[in-house]
């Protein structure tokens, strides 16, 4: 039996339909404001760089809370979707696709391992999505493989080397032996060091490539010891740095020659046993800057957020500055479109409550590299957490970075 359409039913339907058009626009507009803007973050939460990845996520979450407390991006709430990349380039690319296609993220950020930064760099460019590299240092990310979509917070491997090479040369001499992690980060860092060293008139005695995740560094240390270097340059990072330093200390090598390196981090310093707390390194941010405004407040804010007696590291700052930079770019562009945000970020200077360091910090327009400082210095041997490092100098990034021309970066904006 067919339902009988009466005049009354018709009028009722019409009324409901009419009324719906009255309410719908208002409801729709409200609904739009309610749809959060998602930012996808990939970082290693497992594997050799898990501690560093965790710190970056913590920093990003602090920024997230601040951004949302001030009304989000363009009045919309911001959400952070975090994926574990295990410091694996293939997995990171896969997760980047997932973040964009399944979660619908508007922007990407993250990376501890340079290898993952390079692979997601490619994905983000293919998808024309802005990608804020928080912690992959290898030069090509803002050099030979740079893209208009990619910006980077952490410094380049060249800057890491340039921040410390001169000091090591003057202090200890020019015959250096290298232990280099065998992937993008290590290779570019070692090349930069070798170039700087030769420029100063020194010699490279040898270079051992250690696979990422090496547990026994003895054979490399034996070779280093046999070459009788002025300085042993250990370019490992993360757990590899902990293991190699621990073994070098047990072999008593620290008494035979000084050890220096590229990058060290609070996460690494905390994991070193007492006898391995030696050497000259570069940090990219340090929690103890009594004369820099906002740093003290930020550290205490961190400790209120994460009540586990830990201190924020350079990685925490990368995550924090990275997400804030995206939000600043969106606000300046007044748009969520990646190419507009990218243009807005070029030359953008971070305000002092975000940069948390004395020097001028800005995204260079020619290669999208953030000009942040290096903090070279020495490990305090009998230091206790968090007083583990003595910063000797805070070097402005623009003084030591390769010029925009030298990086080999040509931004590929489409006309």
């Amino acid at each position: 039996m067919l339902p009988k359409i009466t005049r009354r039913l018709l009028v009722q339907t019409g009324a409901v339909l009419g009324a719906s058009t009255v309410f719908a626009p208002a409801k729709l507009a409200f609904g739009q404001g309610d749809v959060p803007i998602k930012v996808g973050m990939h970082d290693p939460l497992t594997g050799t760089y898990a501690a560093e990845g965790d710190s970056e996520v913590r920093g990003a979450k602090m920024a997230l809370a601040e951004i949302n407390a001030k009304g989000g991006m363009l009045g919309r709430k911001v959400e952070l979707v975090v994926e574990d990349d295990s410091a694996n380039a293939g997995l990171a690319a896969q997760k980047a696709h997932k973040l964009l296609e399944k979660d619908g993220c508007a922007f990407l950020m993250g990376a501890v391992s340079s290898a993952t930064a390079l692979s997601v760099n490619q994905v983000a460019h293919d998808k024309k999505v802005l990608y804020m590299v928080t912690g992959g240092h290898t030069d090509p990310v803002t050099g030979s493989q740079c893209h208009w979509t990619t910006f980077r917070v952490c410094t380049t491997t060249y800057m890491l080397a340039a921040g410390l090479a001169g000091t090591l040369y003057k202090k200890f001499g020019g015959k250096w032996y290298f232990i280099t992690p065998d992937y993008a980060f290590g290779h570019t860092l070692q090349e930069a060091y070798a170039k700087l060293l030769k420029g100063m008139g020194g010699t490279v005695l040898g270079n051992s490539l250690s696979p990422l995740g090496t547990t026994d560094f003895t054979s490399f240390l034996i070779k280093a010891q046999q070459s009788k270097p002025d300085v042993l340059i250990n370019l490992c990072d993360g757990q590899d740095l902990v293991n190699s330093m621990k073994q070098a200390a047990q072999f008593g090598l620290m008494k035979q020659f000084p050890i220096g390196g590229g990058l060290s981090e609070l996460e690494v310093l905390a994991a070193l046993p007492k006898e391995a707390k030696v050497g000259w390194w570069t940090l990219e941010w340090w929690w103890d800057q009594p004369n820099t405004p906002h740093v003290g407040d930020w550290v205490s804010n961190y400790q209120k957020t994460y009540n586990d007696r830990s201190y924020p590291s350079a990685r925490t700052w990368f995550g924090y500055a990275g997400l804030h930079a995206i939000a600043l770019g969106v606000a300046k562009a007044n748009s969520l479109e990646s190419h507009k945000v990218a243009r807005a970020l070029e030359g953008l200077e971070l305000p002092s409550e975000i940069k948390l360091q004395p020097n001028r910090v800005y995204f260079r327009p020619g290669d999208h590299q953030l000009m942040s400082s290096e903090f070279p210095g020495e490990i305090i041997q009998d230091g206790t957490y968090p007083h583990l490092f003595k910063v000797a100098d805070i070097v402005p990034g623009e003084k030591i970075a390769l010029s925009e021309k030298e990086t080999g970066c040509k931004l590929d904006y489409q006309a």
């Binding site: 898990a50 965790d54 547990t215 003895t218 621990k246 047990q250 072999f251």
Partner: protein
């Protein structure tokens, strides 16, 4: 030449460590018929427990207590998870199970102790090189060799002269008959699994003296131990011991000439052994051929 001798020596020391891991694996494999993929996980538990216990018991106390606790945890795991799978003849089930357990242990460690690496301090007496020329022979490394030797001899004496050991050996050669003769093979297998895990726990404490503690630290150490068993011969404890030494030595020699291949060479040896003598050096006939 000095470089070669240095590296060969270092390889042997490394091999001793693989052998310690391989012994536990071989023990579990032969009586429990379980390819214990969670062995690296038990190693990690051993290392972290030592870190937690050492402020109270000191390094020496932790060195003894921590492996025993790992053995107890191993027995618990065996009772709750592994035992129900003995009935299934396909070893794939227990392999998948222990693989899962390995992942759970890694994540649990991360949850309890955090992803941040932790340092285990070892006593100063053994924490320095024996001589400046042979700087890579540290007191600690000699100590590792000594502990491993003691553990291997202890295991040999246990299997050779105690009732429990005789039962374990009987169970390995014929489980059904052993059961028919009135031995409680469930308890026997549980104890054996516990022993195997104890070896992993001991390896963990020893590893923590050379490596920083991280939740995935077991992963890179477990593979060479499997290779050691295959090279030495499945089912043979002596084979596991020698297999560990052989691959350690081979890796050490290779690293002198071509460092990048030092990891590949152990798999190459495994390949050669599998092709020429599938049962391994001391393995029983029939397992692979």
């Amino acid at each position: 030449m000095t470089l070669l001798i240095f590296n060969a020596f270092n390889g042997l020391i490394q091999g001793v460590f693989y052998a310690l891991m391989a012994l536990g694996l071989a023990l579990i494999l032969s009586l429990n018929s379980v390819i214990n993929m969670a062995h690296g996980g038990f190693l990690v538990i051993g290392a972290y427990l030592a870190f937690t216990l050492s402020p109270y018991l000191g390094f020496w106390g932790a060195l003894i207590i921590s492996p025993i606790l790992v053995g107890a945890i191993g027995m618990l795991v065996e009772r709750l998870l592994v035992r129900p799978l003995y009935k299934r003849s396909d070893p794939l089930y227990s392999l998948l199970l222990t693989f899962g357990i390995a992942l759970v242990i890694e994540d649990l460690t991360r949850t309890i102790w955090g992803p941040q690496g932790l340092p285990l301090e070892i006593p100063d007496i053994i924490n320095s090189p024996v001589s400046t020329q042979y700087f890579f022979i540290t007191g600690y490394r000699l100590f590792v060799v000594a502990v491993t030797a003691a553990a291997a001899i202890g295991l040999y004496l246990l299997l050779r002269y105690t009732l429990l050991g005789i039962r374990i050996r009987a169970g390995i050669s014929d489980l059904e008959t052993t059961s028919a003769l009135g031995v409680n093979i469930y308890r026997l297998r549980a104890l054996n699994f516990g022993f195997g895990c104890m070896f992993a726990g001991l390896a963990g404490v020893l590893a923590a003296g050379v490596l920083g503690l991280t939740p995935p630290m077991g992963n890179s150490l477990i593979m060479p131990s499997f290779v050691a068993i295959i090279v030495g011969g499945v089912g043979s404890l002596l084979g596991a011991l020698l297999g560990g030494l052989i691959i350690g030595l081979a890796a050490g020699i290779t690293t002198t000439y071509y460092p990048a291949a030092s990891e590949a060479v152990i798999y190459l040896i495994m390949l050669i052994v599998l092709v020429i003598r599938p049962r391994g050096l001391f393995g029983e006939q029939g397992l692979f051929e």
